[in-house]
């Protein structure tokens, strides 16, 4: 037991480390590619060489980020095969099909047009070059789609059936997998938050120039493009974030309860805009207050989560212990059904070995009747179904709070750029610089909400993380954890130092 939990902890820590570091590079690629494409479009329309120079400068910074981030995601695939082999086998087709498409698309679109974008300035016509730049932007965003379809499936498995014969999930409805609403809200939210981050990046670099009194014309023009792009896309980010929350409410009510710190659910549930959780509060205890302090907006969570004022939003205690009045099944009940499913799988296995077709069919029937809660059959205690509440709650509120702050920054920068002299608003420029690290914090917080919020599930309700790992020594995973910590930190230091050096040189020295 000790070994299993240590192994799971190290495997999760390693995956989290890799994913979070990988994600430092991705959103800037997703967003900056579009900002560059917009700038180049202005260049082609106006024929103003100055815009070409501006485009090329941002393209250089894009290239640095792309080169350093390239292939960092592949490490997660290594980890699947070594640390998470049960999981990799059981998910079956889901990683095969979408990831193969992703690989091919990303390879062709990105590498071909990428080459033209960087090396083709004087070799192809202006319009072909512009088309390549747009295709790089579209291609990198499309490759995110397939990854998020796979992630969406783990959050809400649809279109696949678990086949005990092969012990894998097999795709029965490709379109159900592709059109999974979870995947779409995730995709839109991820790319739009990438656009917001890239806008913050351009704003931060431009604000730095303006604070230093350098590259004034360049920085003023860039900042207007970025703030406009940021303003528009942050509204999409807000809308897609709201849709994500709606999907979470429908499919992962435990995650929603953790995001909002709800122990006992209510109808007409309010939304906690900010608060400090009571650390003494435990699952099952109805006496202590959940919050030490909180700011709550009445009714809003029922409306946002379920689109109805009267909707009941279940809390952690309702989900763990059940709530008959509102038809919420307890985790213990699900565990009983889950154990049925596990027993049926065991019978199937015996029948398979004995080559007994009739017994196999009977076991399969039993399994199909209970497989919805298969994963609960592996839990030892109903409380295991609860994620780390403070981690999820604070990450969610950090993300949303920062999202509102970014909208304020975009608005103020646009307003001051249009109506006055932004150079005089030193405080705003300073905020512009500071908001870049906060953009990264919001990005990482988003993934913590999505992934830590669905614990203990590697596949929602089907496979807990404790059943998903390979049978390997925890010590090995620990060693590679530190190895990756070292490699990624070196990459991050290289990114920051090459980037800052290039920014200091500026567009003129480019």
């Amino acid at each position: 037991m000790e070994h299993v939990s240590e192994l799971v902890d190290w495997s999760r820590a390693q995956f989290a480390l890799t994913a979070l570091y990988h994600w430092i590079f991705v959103p800037l690629t997703l967003g900056l590619s579009f900002i560059i494409a917009i700038m180049e479009t202005v260049y082609v329309k106006t024929n103003d060489e100055w815009w070409k120079k501006t485009t090329q400068f941002w393209m250089t910074l894009f290239a640095i980020n792309f080169a350093l981030g390239l292939a960092t995601g592949i490490i997660m695939e290594f980890e699947f095969g070594t640390n998470w082999s049960n999981y990799s086998w059981i998910v079956g087709d889901i990683f095969g099909a979408p990831l193969a498409i992703e690989g091919i698309m990303a390879f062709f679109l990105e590498s071909t047009f990428f080459a033209i974008m960087f090396f083709g300035w004087n070799k192809v016509s202006k319009k072909t070059h512009l088309l390549s730049t747009w295709l790089v932007a579209i291609g990198s965003n499309l490759s995110a789609l397939w990854i998020l379809i796979a992630n969406g499936w783990m959050q809400h498995p649809v279109g696949m059936v678990f086949n005990p014969e092969s012990a894998r999930n097999e795709m029965v409805d490709f379109w159900a997998v592709v059109l999974n609403p979870n995947a779409y809200s995730k995709f839109l939210h991820t790319i739009s938050s990438g656009y917001v981050l890239a806008s913050l990046f351009v704003i931060a670099v431009s604000s730095w120039y303006l604070l230093r009194g350098r590259e004034i014309k360049f920085a003023k023009r860039s900042i207007i493009v970025a703030a406009s792009f940021g303003m528009i896309t942050s509204l999409y980010m807000l809308a897609s974030g709201d849709e994500s929350a709606h999907q979470v409410a429908l499919k992962q009510p435990m995650k929603l309860a953790a995001m909002e710190g709800i122990y006992r659910g209510e109808e007409r549930q309010g939304l906690v805009a900010a608060g400090i959780l009571n650390p003494a509060k435990t699952i099952g205890d109805d006496k202590l207050d959940t919050f030490l302090v909180k700011v709550e907006i009445p009714y809003v969570l029922s409306v946002l989560g379920y689109h109805s004022l009267d909707a009941f939003v279940p809390g952690v205690n309702d989900i763990v212990y059940g709530n008959e009045k509102h038809n919420v099944m307890s985790v213990s009940q699900k565990m009983v059904i889950g154990k049925e499913a596990v027993t049926a799988l065991g019978q199937y296995k015996i029948a398979q070995k004995a080559n007994d077709e009739i017994a196999k069919q009977e076991a399969l029937k039993r399994f199909e009747a209970s497989e919805k809660y298969l994963g609960y059959g592996y839990l030892k205690d109903p409380k295991e179904a609860v994620p780390d509440m403070p981690l999820v709650f604070y990450s969610f509120h950090t993300m949303v709070g920062l999202g509102s702050f970014f909208i304020f920054i975009f608005f103020m920068i646009l307003y001051n750029s249009m109506t006055g002299d932004i150079l005089k608003q030193k405080w705003l420029l300073l905020l512009g610089v500071l908001s870049l690290p906060l953009g990264y914090v919001a990005q990482e917080a988003g993934w913590i909400v999505a992934e830590a919020g669905r614990q203990p599930w590697a596949i929602q309700d089907m496979l807990p993380v404790s059943m998903a790992t390979s049978n390997i020594a925890a010590g090995n995973v620990m060693i590679t954890f530190w190895m990756f910590a070292f490699i990624f930190t070196a990459l991050l230091i290289a990114e920051v130092s090459i980037m800052t050096k290039q920014i200091k040189i500026g567009p003129e020295g480019h």
Partner: protein, 53 residues
């Protein structure tokens, strides 16, 4: 272009470290190492899904 060269160097060095060192030495595919056929892999997974940890 000095920056370009530096970036290419980083890309190739990284790909080398990831594929020739990290993948080869530290990240063998667990199931491929232990079993030869798909059938054996399925049976192993079924065993682990039906025996309590």
């Amino acid at each position: 272009m000095r920056l370009g060269k530096k970036l290419w160097l980083i890309i190739f060095l990284k790909l080398f470290i990831l594929f020739a060192v990290v993948k080869l030495l530290f990240f063998p595919n667990f199931l491929d190492e232990k079993f030869k056929t798909e059938k054996e892999k399925s049976a192993y997974i079924m065993d682990s899904l039906t025996t309590s940890k």
